[in-house]
Symmetry: C2
Subunit: 313 residues, 2 copies
């Protein structure tokens, strides 16, 4: 089995994770978390979102937060940008990277951002134009590429067309989102096989949710298909907006555990990542859904003998 020797992880917990959490953290708390993530070796962190505080109160401090961050050299910080106003703020905050977003289906664009797919694409094109002029790195999220909560199976042809248009617009990287966590490995193979005809695999990232337990199997499928960038959220933070209490984002620790076991380099230290996960739980005041985190914290709590601890770590 030919697999990449090295992958890049984009930590989306501080944005995609926190925006689905009820408890609003202070900027100081978010900084502690981001510092812990960077200390674990994560070198791409999506730190916040420049959306209206009316939409997502958790992200109201985006400008101050970005301004106050002091991450190690080599750690790339980005934030989500929905519109011109958000772009202005992101630029003013000194970001070198932004993330734009839209959905692959008409209904999800309508429900999520109250725009048609055409309108979403136009907005995105204008923002990308500004970002290119400003020489910012442009990540883009395309949501519900496999399954849409409103339309069922997403039309792969539609996804292919949108992906082409997005790269024509000038984005640097596209994160393909299994937003409701419904994909299985066959879906991933088929999608990448389709998309690699028209775009470079190095520019594609995969963003899985573990809602039905398939996230790491889908990562394996992605690795086999040659994709080298994966999104993940510390502790699986964020849950599933469609099903409160259920798992959402793929947990970063679960991803790193599997990559480590397979000898695939990610640059992330699993023990330090566990500390970041423990901190995230402490800050949020509840358990997160990540499997590795829960197993290891339970082992720690039970004060297992040294050998057993080692087997766990």
């Amino acid at each position: 089995m030919k697999l990449p020797a090295k992958v890049s992880i984009v930590e989306v917990g501080p944005r995609d994770g926190l925006q689905n959490e009820a408890k609003i953290l202070t900027s100081a708390e978010k900084i502690r978390l981001i510092d812990a993530l960077a200390a674990a070796g994560l070198n791409r962190i999506e730190a916040s979102s420049f959306v209206s505080p009316k939409w997502i109160p958790q992200m109201a401090d985006s400008a101050e937060l970005i301004g106050a961050l002091k991450v190690p050299a080599g750690c790339r910080i980005s934030a989500l940008v929905p519109n011109d106003k958000g772009y202005d703020s992101a630029k003013a905050a000194g970001l070198k990277e932004i993330a734009l977003f839209m959905s692959a289906t008409e209904s999800h664009n309508k429900k999520n951002i109250n725009k048609s797919t055409k309108e979403a694409l136009d907005t995105l094109a204008e923002l990308a134009k500004r970002a290119r002029a400003d020489q910012l790195f442009i990540r883009c999220y395309l949501s519900v590429v496999f399954l849409c909560p409103y339309e069922g199976k997403t039309d792969p042809l539609k996804v292919e067309e949108l992906v082409k248009e997005l790269f024509e617009i000038g984005i640097d990287e596209l994160s393909l989102g299994d937003t409701i966590g419904g994909a299985t490995p066959s879906d991933v193979w088929r999608m990448i096989e389709r998309l690699e005809r028209s775009c470079a695999k190095e520019k594609l990232a995969l963003h899985f949710h573990d809602t039905r337990g398939t996230a790491l199997a889908n990562v394996l499928a992605g690795l086999e298909a040659g994709i080298t960038t994966y999104d993940a959220s510390i502790g699986g933070m964020g849950g599933c907006p469609y099903a409160p209490g259920a798992a959402g984002n793929l947990a970063t620790e679960d991803l790193v555990y599997m990559l480590d076991g397979m000898g695939i380099e990610s640059g992330v230290n699993l023990e330090k990542l566990l500390d970041a996960g423990e901190l995230a739980q402490e800050l949020l005041g509840h358990k997160l859904t990540g499997r590795y985190l829960q197993a290891c914290l339970a082992s720690r709590a039970k004060s297992l003998k040294k050998k057993e601890m080692e087997a766990c770590s």
Copy 2:
């Protein structure tokens, strides 16, 4: 990617799952659960264990339970058998299939059954001899084949030798257990590549735990390696004996969801399986760890709109 068109699932919830649950169910409750599992189309169910009630009080009713079961024709029922006494009872109960067990490491055999590996193998050989004479189907579990909580990485050469000896003894099927849920897909590929030199892949089953979220990725690796039998436990029932509160057995619904999505036939109806999972939670009085189960039950509870329900189911 060449994958099997069809796989067989061995439901181990009523034995491997329940034996790790604190609440002791009545025989009537267990029968309800087993009936629900059979109704979902599961045609291999490990229903109980003929161990001493002193070891595992949950299994004290094994003889009455097996005697009272009325599963559909074609549904194979088996039970775990640790010794001659258990074998006598299993045979008296009219079972056509039994499951024997031992571990791949010296320490795990010692801690788990207070026998050396040699002694465990001798006991197993005697039981297998009786079962062959009685024309029973003999499944065997080999625990900790990848990672041992006491010894760390298990020596693959040792596993290979044991597997050869077990088939020489005359077992019909061997279930390779990732008992503490530490394996990653590379481990699975390597193990199967090693074992297929000396035994038929059709006689191998894989038994994964989802302790670190890797269970379905490991199933995918197993499918790619040509293995067609997988163990799973309804709702992920049973947890992890080494880490209370953490996930244990691979949840049957998660497995079936992935297989369905990949077009791999299992004969199991996912909606009915969900009913069995809901029943298991109701009987045990607590939430189980299965991802699909929690996502779907949360959606049901939230009374999502029809379209969203469909996206979940």
